[in-house]
């Protein structure tokens, strides 16, 4: 029991005076089936217990990673923009700005496997096979120079991998190192002489530097409503006609897309280009977005987004336009494609 902080043991069972006393079981709920437990109980422990069957090697992992992960994490797991870097940072933990990656910081390989299998890719979690997860993890290890390029990860090789920072953690010691020290309540003459400013604030104004609260307040509150509602006497840009109910369905489908694509007022480019006015737009032409070569070339060759082309693209993006960088497996249901197209129409003029 020494691994639990002492204060915790002292408080355990001592509180909850207002809680109802448990007399006996109430017989509520029902027994979970084995299949249900198997579906949700995915956790893998540091000793490798509860790992699924399967395997994946580094070279397969490189391909699967390129298809599913590289758009945010980079081809070499180096991380794009603010997205997490998965490789590098060796021996930086004591530096001023440590780089914490799977290789430099994560203590257990099980954590990487568990997280990739549950929660990645971002926006399409649990879409990967166990073999793919093994392969991706093998590739991440390779990117960190922790395995060679002929390595295959499976249940059997899992514990062969040594994580560099496995011994880099210790259990919270604040009860010993801080609590006995932080007890002095000085009331007078606590510092010699008057204080001086040693550091001034780095971001002085509104950190977003957008409209100030005053500006927002003086704007008539109804402006936003009017701006988003289609208006009859707003003659200039003609809105694309769309079925509002179907567009609402499409908005739900669009949740799969919105990790990378923004749409609506003020939508900016993210991992993917803004999709405002995508309707009848030439492919690869949103200002400021860095397209893959195949996408730019397709636009130059006259690819325009409409019902036919978008339906084809969204059904199987990688097959439709080989080498483009959208890492999305595709929408399997025609109804979903139809709905999401209607939603995109509703944001086009």
């Amino acid at each position: 029991m020494s691994k639990f902080p002492k204060f915790l043991m002292a408080t355990a069972l001592a509180t909850l005076t207002a809680a109802p006393a448990m007399a006996e079981k109430l017989g509520l709920g029902r027994a979970a089936t084995e299949a249900e437990v198997a579906a949700w109980d995915l956790d893998v422990f540091p000793d490798g217990s509860n790992l699924p069957e399967g395997s994946g090697d580094v070279l397969t992992g490189e391909e699967v990673f390129a298809d599913n992960c590289a758009v945010c994490h980079g081809d070499f797991a180096e991380g794009i923009d603010n997205w997490p870097k998965l490789a590098g940072g060796d021996d930086t933990l004591a530096d001023e700005d440590p780089l914490k990656t799977v290789g430099s910081y994560w203590p257990y390989l099980s954590t990487t496997f568990d997280y990739v299998r549950r929660s990645m890719p971002f926006g399409d979690a649990q879409s990967l096979s166990n073999d793919d997860v093994y392969a991706i993890v093998a590739y991440i290890l390779y990117s960190n120079y922790l395995v060679e390029d002929d390595f295959t990860l499976s249940k059997d090789t899992f514990l062969d991998v040594e994580m560099p920072n496995a011994d880099g953690f210790f259990v919270d010691d604040r009860p010993e190192t801080e609590y006995p020290v932080f007890t002095e309540r000085c009331m007078e003459d606590c510092k010699p002489g008057a204080v001086e400013i040693t550091k001034t604030v780095v971001f002085k104004g509104d950190p977003n530097a957008g409209a100030s609260a005053d500006e927002i307040e003086t704007t008539a509150p109804s402006t936003t409503d009017e701006a988003t509602a289609p208006s009859a006497d707003d003659a200039a840009p003609v809105a694309v006609a769309f079925d509002a109910d179907l567009a609402d369905d499409g908005e739900k489908v669009f949740k799969k897309c919105k990790a990378c694509h923004k749409v609506g007022e003020g939508a900016k480019n993210g991992v993917g280009p803004s999709l405002n006015d995508v309707w009848e737009r030439t492919a690869g032409t949103v200002d400021g977005f860095k397209y893959s070569k195949p996408m730019s070339a397709a636009g130059e060759d006259g690819l325009v987004w409409d019902t036919e082309t978008l339906s084809g693209y969204l059904a199987n993006p990688r097959k439709y336009l080989k080498g483009n960088k959208m890492t999305f497996a595709g929408l399997k249901k025609d109804a979903d494609i139809e709905a999401v197209l209607e939603f995109l129409k509703s944001h086009s003029q």
């Binding site: 029991m1 639990f4 204060f7 915790l8 355990a12 069972l13 509180t15 207002a18 809680a19 109802p20 448990m22 079981k25 109430l26 509520l28 709920g29 029902r30 979970a32 437990v37 949700w40 109980d41 956790d43 422990f45 945010c72 933990l93 004591a94 001023e96 440590p98 914490k100 257990y108 954590t111 997280y115 549950r118 929660s119 971002f122 926006g123 979690a125 649990q126 880099g168 953690f169 210790f170 919270d172 604040r174 190192t177 801080e178 309540r185 007078e188 003459d189 606590c190 510092k191 204080v195 400013i197 040693t198 550091k199 604030v201 780095v202 971001f203 977003n208 927002i216 307040e217 109804s222």
Partner: protein, 426 residues
């Protein structure tokens, strides 16, 4: 909003503008004092006409003049708003309860839409009978109602290296305090039966959410049986989707990341999972590069919410209310001290009411401001005798590489004009 109400709204605004302008002129000159304040001497439209009917807003929102009191994000802090954080406008609130609509949000894969009818909670692992509960099942267990703060471990994390962001909302706004209603985690664990777990000392529960991130965390059995709640109401009403509707876990006094939203599974185990959220994140790196783990408790901390950078003094010298919040994950706040001179001398502030364990306390210090510059600081004391440390004291122990658990004393520099800025002092 109908056309007619929009129209009347517009004319009302125009009228109000006129009235406000007159009021300002009146207040400024003082010469017109003999005639009196037109807001008093003239019949105002709100005193003559009629207001909105009872069904104008079936679920009410704050009046439009308060529309700046909102959660705010700092766009460049994270790659994307889906896996990100925003901040409670603590500078503009008073009392201790945080309204749900402006209580900060932290999502790892976005706020999901989960119906009560689709909600399932599983308990498995080392229990006598693995069980599945529906939402309706949860409502039939004996219920408790208790108030707790939730603070993100990363609250004030930006400020380790120096004074970074200019506002209590941004430096200390990853916190909220709500009255939760739900079932104790102990009740549910006992319903599944813990005989199978044997000796409970050294056992753990793993909790995870239904969203794509799952955000799993391992919690020692002692804590699970002590005071954790499986909550479905906050401040009397259903949880908001951004806070885990329909069901979230409440882990009093411990870092917010453990308060799993959309709670879907509780597993009894004999070892921690060592998930992403408890290894690669939410661990505290020391100066030598080693890292503390299992730093669950949020230590005593306080912040002056007004005056503060977003809440300058606009009334000049004279009576001034200094107010703020204090809390401790180790117990109840017993005192808050305030310094006007950057920590040379301190005086005890007035607590709005006696501190409650692991809940926010509100403090006030009423002073007669002489218009000179101030270095405002507050310092919390809890019932374990812990005194909130300075940033310097924390750095002496931990170095500069930590992100989480920064509970150091904050300084606001208030100048003669009443403007406040985030600074560090000697």
């Amino acid at each position: 909003m109908s056309d007619s109400s929009t129209k009347s709204g517009a004319s009302r605004r125009a009228f109000l503008k006129g009235a406000a302008a007159t009021g300002a002129a009146f207040g400024a000159t003082g010469a017109a004092r003999a005639e009196g304040d037109p807001l008093i001497t003239e019949v105002q439209y709100w005193a003559a006409g009629l207001g909105d009917g009872v069904d104008a807003t079936p679920y009410g929102m704050p009046i439009e003049f308060e529309d700046h009191v909102i959660r705010r994000n700092v766009e460049w802090l994270t790659a994307d708003t889906i896996s990100s954080i925003n901040f409670t406008p603590i500078h503009a609130l008073d009392g201790t309860i945080t309204p749900q609509g402006c209580a900060f949000e932290r999502h790892h894969s976005g706020a999901i839409t989960l119906k009560k009818e689709d909600y399932r909670l599983m308990i498995n692992g080392l229990v006598d009978t693995p069980l599945v509960f529906s939402y309706a099942d949860l409502e039939r267990f004996p219920r408790v109602t208790r108030t707790f703060f939730l603070e993100c471990a990363a609250n004030t994390g930006m400020e380790w290296a120096g004074a970074q962001l200019n506002g209590a909302q941004y430096t200390h706004g990853m916190i909220h305090n709500m009255e939760y209603t739900g079932v104790t985690l102990r009740t549910l664990l006992e319903e599944a039966g813990l005989d199978a777990a044997g000796d409970l000392a050294g056992k753990w529960v793993y909790v995870e959410g239904a969203d794509a991130s799952s955000n799993g965390r391992s919690i020692p059995m002692e804590k699970a049986l002590d005071d954790c709640l499986v909550a479905f109401k906050a401040n009397g009403e259903a949880l908001r989707m951004e806070h885990g509707y329909p069901v979230r876990l409440v882990v009093p006094g411990w870092e917010g990341n453990m308060w799993v939203k959309w709670l879907r599974r509780i597993e009894v185990m004999d070892a921690p999972v060592e998930s992403r959220e408890e290894t690669s994140k939410y661990t505290d790196t020391m100066a030598d590069g080693t890292s503390r783990k299992w730093t669950w408790t949020m230590d005593a901390k306080s912040i002056i919410t007004s005056p503060s950078p977003q809440m300058p003094i606009t009334h000049g010298k004279g009576p001034l209310v200094i107010t703020g919040l204090a809390w401790s994950g180790n117990g109840a706040i017993t005192a808050v001290d305030v310094s006007l001179d950057g920590g040379v001398t301190w005086q005890e502030a007035r607590l709005a009411e006696p501190g409650k364990p692991m809940a926010l306390s509100r403090f006030y210090l009423d002073i007669d401001w002489d218009g000179s510059e101030m270095f405002l600081q507050s310092r919390a004391v809890d019932d374990t005798g812990y005194v909130q440390p300075t940033k310097t004291q924390l750095r002496e122990v931990r170095g500069l590489n930590s992100i989480y658990h920064n509970n150091g004393i904050q300084t606001w520099h208030v100048n003669a004009e009443g403007e406040a800025n985030n600074v560090e002092v000697s």
